[in-house]
Structures are given as C-alpha cells and as structure tokens.
C-alpha cells in the first residue's frame, strides 16, 4: 500500500491522510509513521506535519477464528469503519478547521477484509446522505460527492480476481487492476469495467 502512495502521490492535493491498519499489525503502523516522517522532511514545512492519523480496526476474522463467530466480528469491524468515516474513532483527533467535511474525499485500498468493510461502510453512508438530500428536496441540486472509493487489486493477481476483488468489483467506484488479462472485467452486463493502471506497486 505504501509503495503505491510513494509513487507520484501529490500531497498538495491529498493534504490530510488517515491510515487504517488492522489491529495487531504494528509493522504497518510503524511503516506509516516512517512514511509520514519522510514526507514531512521533504516538504520541510511546519503546517504539513501531523496532517495525518493512524487508526486501528479490529479484524473481520482473526486467523483461526471460528466461522460461527466471524459474522459478529465482521459487524464489529464494519461499525468501527463507520466511526472512522464519520471522524469519531477514538484514534482520530479533531480535523484542522479548514476541512469542511468530516468525511474523507477519497478512500483507496488494496487490501483484505478490512478494506471490504471500509468500502461497504463508505457506500452505506453515501446511501444515507443521498436519502437525506432526496427527502429534504435538494436531490436535484448537484453537489460534490465525497467518500469516493478506489480499489487496487493485488499485484499478485494476474488472471483471477481475489475474494476481496470479486466482492468489490460491482461496489467500488473505481476498480483498478495491474495486469492486462484482468482489465475490462465487470460484475455483470452494463456495469462499469475494471481499469488497467500498470504496475503501481513497483
């Protein structure tokens, strides 16, 4: 994931980052902190430091956890994702005042079950925002959409989609693949296609 961000990621556009890490994955937390440190050094500007948060999320299913209890832990995971997207997770501090919305503009993920929960949670919130706008009679007025979701399929997937990928193909707003044989896949006829983006991890 960090390799993707290292490549030409524009920090003047994506000014505030929230890193979502599975609980127990201390290595990823450490890597995210190191990564932000290098950005801060590059930019050499005080206002850009600490423009990030790292939140940890319980796993949807821990390794060797029973499939009987997995639905409950998945719900717990989903709930925590909702809190993060609403800016109410305990690991999050209040956003700097220049940000008008608590929701992230864009969610990018390449990952496992937690990523699936996060993208589903984003869609869930957007559905409510849409219903609210429709009910309050503002449905016809265009508005900038937040919580856009981007899924990058694993580089290890050459000809077949991963389980996360198969779930998210009809759901994510943008579905990117790193190998040509996977380009142009769609969940069913008439839906958007997966897009080939080259090797973004290298």
């Amino acid at each position: 994931m960090l390799a993707i961000l290292e490549n030409n990621f524009d920090y003047s556009i994506y000014t505030y980052r929230t890193y979502v890490v599975s609980s127990g994955d201390d290595l990823s937390t450490q890597k995210a902190v190191e990564f932000e440190d290098t950005i801060a050094q590059q930019k050499d500007s005080k206002e850009l430091t600490e423009n990030y948060a790292i939140v940890t999320i319980p796993r949807a299913r821990r390794v060797h956890q029973s499939y009987l209890t997995a639905p409950f832990s998945t719900l717990h995971c989903f709930w925590t994702c909702l809190l993060v997207l609403l800016g109410r997770h305990p690991n999050q501090r209040p956003l700097p005042t220049q940000y008008t919305s608590k929701h992230p503009d864009i969610i990018i993920s390449n990952g496992p079950a937690v990523a699936v929960c996060m993208i589903l949670a984003a869609k869930f919130i957007r559905f409510f925002i849409y219903c609210f706008r429709w009910a309050s009679g503002r449905g016809s007025k265009p508005e900038i959409s937040r919580l856009r979701t981007v899924y990058v399929e694993s580089w290890a997937r050459v000809r077949t989609l991963s389980v996360s990928g198969r779930i998210l193909l009809p759901i994510a707003d943008k579905f990117l693949v790193q190998w040509l044989p996977l380009a142009g896949r769609r969940a069913w006829w008439g839906m958007k296609e997966s897009e080939y983006c080259g090797w973004v991890v290298l």
Binding site: A3, S145, A156, R157, V200
Partner: protein
C-alpha cells in the same frame, strides 16, 4: 577482492526446507563457482535452520571443500540492504549477483525494485496457484526465471545471462500514478 553474491530468500510465512537443501547441494555450489560467485547468503527461516546447521557442522568438520563463503540467517524484516549487496556498484567492489526467491509477492517485488537477476522457485507444497500464475507471467515478460526444485543449478547460468542484458530488465522507471484524480471532482 570483488564480491559476487547469490542471495536466497524463502520469506517469512511458510517454511521451504527443500529450497535451502537445493542451494546447499554440491552441484549448485559447483555451478556458482563456475560462474565466479564468491558468496552465498541464505535467508532460511525457521524451517531451514536445521538443514543449514547440519550443513555448517559438516563444513566445519572439513568434509566439504569449495571456494564459496556461505552465510545464513533466520529472517530480517527488511531485505533491501541485502538486495543492494547483490547489485553491481560503480566502485567495482561488487559484481552483479543473483537472487533466488520463493514465489512470495513481497520478495519478488523487492528483487524487481533492486533490478537484479531473479530466479523464482514456486513451492510445490503450497496449493496457491495464483503464485504460479504470477511467476509464469513474469517469466514470460523476461523479468524472472522460473526455477524447479530438482534443477536449481541450471538457473545460475540463466541468471548470469539475464544480468548481461541488464538494461532490459532494470527499467528503473518510477511507478505509475493511480488514475483517480477524476474521482475527486465527481459531482452527483
């Protein structure tokens, strides 16, 4: 003295004793010597510890004779410093070596980023066929060589040959930007 290193890595997740065994076999070591390698460094993991210790015991008792310096370690969280030792350097203390890796994504990516000749050895004990798919695809593109456990020695010559056309596999281009700017200005 010029160092020419062959780095073997089995990754962190699954044990891969057979690969450790294969690279400690005399036929492989002879092949390394033939291609002027000076060092063999093995990241053997917990599973390969026993094989490696047994080999070392035999070496110290003086039963084995070859000109290659062999080292081994269990696991390091960051393999990049070791991959740098495989690269050729302008100061001419290092010659371009080679990497023999299991088919794990992380190890393959690290080697590709370093731009060194890479041999990928899929683990037949793992029923993970998408790793095989990845290895086949990379071999088709010329980025890697597929090694079979029963024929590791022949990969040395192939890797040296791949190193000769270094500019081709060492593309050195920066990764691509993710095309997602259009999502930011989405209006609905």
């Amino acid at each position: 003295m010029v160092v020419k290193l062959c780095l073997v890595t089995v990754g962190a997740t699954a044990p891969f004793e057979k690969l450790v065994q294969a690279v400690l076999h005399e036929s492989f070591l002879a092949e390394l010597e033939k291609h002027k390698f000076t060092r063999l460094l093995i990241q053997h993991g917990k599973g390969g510890q026993q094989v490696f210790d047994a080999y070392r015991a035999e070496y110290e008792s003086g039963n084995i004779d070859h000109g290659i310096e062999i080292g081994g370690f269990d696991l390091r969280p960051n393999m990049i410093p070791y991959l740098r030792m495989v690269r050729d350097d302008p100061g001419d203390f290092q010659e371009l070596g080679m990497v023999i890796s299991h088919a794990g994504t992380g190890s393959i990516l690290d080697a590709l980023r370093a731009g060194v000749p890479l041999v990928v050895v899929p683990n037949p004990d793992l029923a993970d066929n998408h790793q095989q798919e990845l290895a086949d695809q990379l071999a088709g593109l010329g980025y890697a060589i597929i090694g079979k456990l029963d024929d590791i020695p022949s990969t040395v010559g192939q890797a040296v040959k791949q190193g000769e056309r270094a500019p081709f596999f060492r593309h050195g281009q920066k990764g691509r930007e993710i095309p997602m700017g259009d999502e930011l200005s989405w209006v609905d």
